[in-house]
Amino acid sequence: MSLVSLDRLTKRYPGGVMALDALTVAIEPGVVGLVGANGAGKSTLIKILLGLLEASGGSARVFDLDVATQGLAIRQRVGYMPEHDCLPVDISASEFVNHMARMSGLPRANARERTSDVLRHVGLFEERYRPMGGYSTGMKQRVKLAQALVHDPRLLLLDEPTNGLDPAGRDEMLELIRRTGTEFGIAIVMASHLLGEIERVCDFLVAIDAGRLLRAAALGTFTQKTGILLVDVDESPQELATRLAADGLSVRVDGHHLLVQIRDDATFDAVRDAAVDLGLGLVRLEPRRGSLEDLFRDAEGDAVSPAHGQAA
């Protein structure tokens, strides 16, 4: 049984916009990244899983329950962190999260205890008793995560959880999500348009583009070694390229980098020796890894070359 399984799931908005186009994919428990450009259909998919939107065609199942007919049962064990603002300004985080726990069916005393636990988990201490209108974006995002976790869901659906955060806040949020997923065993589906975030947190990736499935696979398979050696020298890469080609290696110059096909360990020695012979300083010698961005480049049919910078 998959955690989430979609079968030709389609959503057409009034006006004809196709948000999801016969999307078929099975998602297993783990920390899953749902990646795609803005408007690719990520939020639409999450809202259909929650029953906030109705699908136009196909079917979706969560915990092997049908989204269309068993929504209530699903929603008791799902947590949702929306992309946009969803916090009233005039009540405190403590009171709000407690109310949301009750709304998930927790008894009064248990709700209070869970609220306190989960606010501590997301790192909100004294501030929790102040009205949320005065919170920073970082604190608001933490409260949004806390209300999604307060009833101990089996599945957490996060829509752009780092939206609006500064770099430090983003790092903290990603770390919090990673810990929640890996240490506490809550399955997570996290939507993001930033590949770098997905790479840091997720172990499985579902890439969608214009409502269609681009690829779904374990993250490792996207970033395996590519058999290419990335070489940086302090000057005249062209000279080194000519020399290595003369040695019988397959070389290509890409801006300031050299990309050398790795044949065996001797390839590394050959590069080193050539640099010494030419009197060039060797700045970097690194097996090139694939990046998630390549995936989207491939899809767009652009230059199919694993030659550009790593994903941020």
């Binding site: 809202k47 929650l50 029953g51 906030l52 929504g71 209530l72 929603r75 008791q76 799902v78 949702y80 929306p82 946009h84 603002d85 969803c86 916090l87 009233p88 300004v89 005039d90 009540i91 009171e95 109310h99 949301m100 009750r102 709304m103 998930s104 069916g105 927790l106 008894p107 248990n110 869970r114 636990d117 989960v118 501590r120 988990h121 209300q147 976790l149 009833h151 101990d152 810990r179 929640t180 240490e183 506490f184």
Partner: protein, 303 residues
């Protein structure tokens, strides 16, 4: 955060799972109902949000307190006082028309708090993605407003009843004297609360803007009231008389007169001369129509 020197974090108990009971949908709806009543009276919120609802309740019980004062005084005078009491304008059958404006004001100020705030802050997706459905939400919020209004509408009546029993020379006989009034009092109270509450809920649900909702609700209770007065005055025939049924305020006055068996407080309602039963029927139609608008709104609202 850390214990001295050891480097061990003593406060970080980590995340714990929850193995306790999950009461589900019914408990969630009950929690939202309670939350709504608390919100309507500003409990758990700033002092400023309590001023309006609590102030209105105090104003509403004022006539009853006044009436009780008079009764107590009259009891001192003896038989001569009974004549004075008989002409006292404050009794069960006149109390509601007396405080009607307060009820409209309460509803117009608090219904937007219950329905508009969640729309404004974007909280609806969180409610709709939990153990409740969209209609559960709308129902619990509406019921919350009705309970809050019931406190406002019945407090003065019950205060008057309890006071009269206590002031009576023989409380037991006094109770026996007052009890026959109770059914009419409760039926009118419930009808008033349900009509005002559902009409206000449906109106408030249509907009996230508090000021618009407040003005619209006051408008619904006030404008048709004036329009029907004009139409009845012009004596446009049966159609003109029916206009009072399109005015919720007039309908409520008719309901009050019908169940207490007195003549209507409002000149327009008296002049329209429609059969008494037409008012409870019209009230029912208003309530059903409002609930339909409310359900439709929450089934379609984007979340």
């Amino acid at each position: 955060m850390t214990a001295s020197g050891s480097g061990g974090s003593i406060y970080d108990l980590g995340y714990r799972g929850y193995e306790g009971p999950r009461l589900g949908r019914g408990a969630a709806v009950a929690a939202l109902l309670t939350h709504s009543v608390r919100t309507a009276y500003g409990l758990g919120r700033s002092a400023r949000s309590k001023v309006m609802p609590v102030g209105l309740v105090l104003l509403a019980v004022l006539p009853s307190l006044l009436a009780l004062g008079i009764i107590a005084l009259v009891a001192q005078i003896g038989p001569a006082g009974e004549a004075i009491e008989a002409i006292s304008p404050i009794r069960y059958s006149t109390l509601f028309p007396f405080i009607a404006v307060l009820v409209f004001l309460f509803s117009a100020s608090q219904a937007p708090e219950l329905f508009g705030r969640d729309q404004r802050a974007g909280v609806l997706p969180l409610y709709f993605s939990r153990a409740t459905s969209r209609l559960d939400y709308a129902g619990a919020r509406t019921l919350g407003l009705l309970v809050s209004l019931l406190v406002l509408v019945l407090s003065p009546q019950l205060l008057l009843l309890v006071g009269r029993v206590l002031v009576a020379a023989d409380p037991v006989a006094g109770l026996a004297e007052e009890l026959p009034e109770l059914p009419a009092l409760l039926v009118v109270g419930l009808l008033v609360v349900t009509l005002v509450g559902t009409v206000s809920s449906a109106t408030a649900a249509l907009t996230p803007r508090r000021s618009y909702a407040t003005v619209a609700i006051i408008g619904i209770f006030l404008i048709p009231n004036i329009a029907s007065a004009l139409l009845v005055e012009l004596e446009t025939g049966l159609l003109g008389q029916m206009a009072v049924l399109l005015s919720p305020a007039d309908v409520l006055d008719g309901v009050n007169a019908y169940f207490f068996g007195v003549s209507p407080d409002n000149q327009t309602v008296a002049q329209a001369g429609l059969p008494g039963w037409s008012y409870p029927v019209a009230a029912g139609a208003w309530i059903i129509g409002s609930l339909a608008v409310l359900a439709r709104r929450y089934q379609r609202i984007e979340a």
